[in-house]
Subunit: 421 residues, 2 copies
């Protein structure tokens, strides 16, 4: 079956060698950090795991080949195991970018008798340090590669490009409108790029940076250029790691599930829900119930909601929260991202058995310590109740602000705290 | 006086027109946000204010000229007033980058009779959206401009640059090693760049992007290219705002001052200080005392320390914290950045008058609300004391983690909270 250029996402006979730009004169030199950039933690998970996750989520990508240096091979195997990555084959990296890609291609070529992989029609080449690649652009480059033989994502230039003279002065500047930055992913008919690599010179393998140029030089293929999104950028400097972490935090905070233990729509817990809906623009707030059988909550967990607010009406115990935590633990949801759970209590601080309630609630520190081990971040929030209407509204608004802060920051340093609104 | 190329930072007869790239087809289009990027808030302060602050801190920059569109003129005046910027003149922006710069240069030229500004020998051109410019690179471009007539900061290319053909395919790719990204700042002998602008064509003014190119084309000056740091990058996309915020938060969290109300070196407060010193690598931890006369603390405030830990030994009141807050308020330190103050208490929760102590401490919410108005973020931290040695060490470590989190995140959503370690 040969899907035409306009075909919808369909299973393509596609293998993907994922190139790791592992040859850095000093590992991670440009980051100002000692770890090679693809292994730098983002929300405590190595950057490359996010890239693998993005590629795995595309069902028509059949195999993912990663080129890894010998010294990082064990670390890479550990990452694949810990984050349960699938369809990954590892090959030895070369000493340059092009040599690593060539190794990946060799592993896919039919002339490798001991390989479990088989030769694909189309191959995608991607960077380990571009974690935000989406199915849309992957499909575009693959479709264009089928028609043109090669295709690659491009972006407008942010800075003007200039050419220096030998003495470090300006020779000429390039017209920004007539040039583009070549980004990743790129896709090729396998034979086109593999033959180009087989023919190319040692100089190309040593100093080249552009696969599309090899396809042009040796395969006479003019690659189709596809406009990519800004999120395709290459994580290069320390600031890029900061940006990646903020983008990921923002994405996993777009959906908050409120688990309420009452159906009474006049209850103050519902007022809190309303305020959260109003204050958090662009955030989807849904309700899940723990009973009967918690089926809708299971659905929300399946939809990969990473933020939960468990509202406890007058019951100063952890029964509901514990059931939610059990469901989350069974789902394995927190393997990839930290899950935030905020347990909210409406409490009259001045009531006589308050001390006892507090003692119950202080147990949250122990629960939080337990579930932090499986990447669940648990906090408590106390809201004084009943109180006069105006003060109550102020408390609920402050509660919403605290909830939004805990979900947005997703910082493990504050787990087990009982916050007060 | 004419400082030679190797001269140290000295008062230069320099005026700086700061160019705002205000002509965006849709304001802030590339950011995915509605506000023009230079006015986007970073830690609640507009980005351009950080850039102005960086330039103001260089004593030999005499005047700063900012080109602003009519619709943003009032907002810009408000920013200058609120953040107390000095040496700023505003001119009307043009409809393109080059027209805005030309307007800035005209304001500095002697032939403008109604201007308070006078013609400088050297002029720097900079972007409003590059807030991390440092004196070092400014001095380098100015020194080189004096020798060569023009100079600009450059960076290695992150992506390969390609040239597309008319049908959207690859025409050729450029050798990455032989090209550079042209960044800012740039510096010029005033006459060189002003004459270039006077001579240049409408096409240049409309479609040009590179001032160094104008100096070459009309002034026959081959600009000296100066290697800049990665931090010179242009805040262009939403992710760049995230990165800028993280960089700023990191920078202002590098110095923590611990204010202790005891000189007893065996006291548990000093153990906390030791743990903070050990756990926060690269962070400078200094001690300040409130008495006598708090002179060393005044010095620390003058050195722009933005993070304070006020350790209260067995006294569950806000007396010391209030004195610190008063000193901070008088210093105006929090005009530019949010100042974090964490008030630490060592308390026996089980002692009889505990309820009363807590009632005292709950007042922190009211204090926090007050000082938040002047950009001071106040939180409390309770550490159970006395307790068994091993547990105490665990509590102190957790306390240090909470302190580090509050300082690093600097989020106003949690002010007034009493956290428990």
């Amino acid at each position: 079956m040969e899907p035409g250029p306009a075909a919808a996402p369909a299973p393509l006979p596609l293998r993907l060698p994922l190139r790791l730009p592992l040859r850095l004169p000093l590992p991670g030199e440009r980051m100002g950090v000692p770890t090679p950039k693809q292994f730098c933690p983002v929300l405590e998970r190595p950057l490359i795991s996010y890239t693998l996750q993005a590629l795995e989520s595309v069902c028509w990508i059949k195999d993912i080949v990663v080129a890894v240096t010998g010294e990082n091979m064990e670390a890479m195997k550990g990452i694949i195991q810990k984050y349960q990555h699938q369809r990954i084959s590892l090959v030895a990296a070369g000493v340059t970018r092009h040599r690593s890609i060539f190794n990946g291609l060799k592993a896919l070529a039919e002339d490798q008798p001991d390989s479990k992989l088989s030769k694909p029609e189309v191959v995608i080449i991607h960077d380990a340090v571009r974690p935000f690649v989406e199915e849309d652009v992957l499909l575009k480059v693959v479709t264009a590669a089928k028609e043109h033989g090669a295709a690659g994502a491009i972006r407008p230039l942010v800075s003007t490009v200039i050419s220096p003279s030998a003495d470090g002065c300006l020779d000429h500047s390039l017209d920004r409108a007539r040039h583009r930055a070549s980004e990743m992913p790129q896709a090729f008919l396998f034979d086109v790029i593999y033959e180009a690599y087989q023919q190319c010179s040692d100089y190309d393998l040593e100093f080249g940076t552009e696969c599309l140029q090899l396809a042009l030089k040796y395969g006479h293929v003019h690659a189709k250029l596809v406009e990519g999104s800004p999120d395709l950028w290459k994580v290069t400097y320390k600031r890029d790691l900061y940006a990646a972490e903020s983008i990921i935090k923002e994405r996993i905070s777009q959906h908050i599930c409120i688990v309420m233990d009452t159906k009474d729509e006049n209850h103050v817990g519902h007022h809190l829900e309303e305020i959260l809906k109003n204050e958090l623009n662009h955030v989807k707030v849904t309700s899940g119930a723990l009973c009967p059988a918690g089926r809708d909550l299971e659905q929300i967990i399946l939809e990969q909601c990473y933020s939960y607010v468990c509202v406890n009406v007058m019951s100063p115990d952890f029964e509901k929260t514990r059931r939610l935590l059990n469901m989350l633990e069974e789902s394995n949801l927190s393997i990839l991202y930290p899950v935030v759970v905020i347990s909210v209590y409406f409490l009259d601080y001045k009531s006589v058995p308050f001390d006892q309630k507090m003692e119950n609630l202080m147990q949250i520190k122990e629960y939080a310590k337990e579930v932090k081990k499986i990447n669940i971040l648990l906090c408590g929030l106390l809201i004084y109740y009943p109180q006069e209407e105006q003060n109550l509204q102020a408390s609920l608004r402050q509660g919403a602000t605290i909830i939004a802060t805990l979900i947005k920051e997703r910082n493990s340093g504050l787990v087990g705290q009982l916050l007060v609104a």
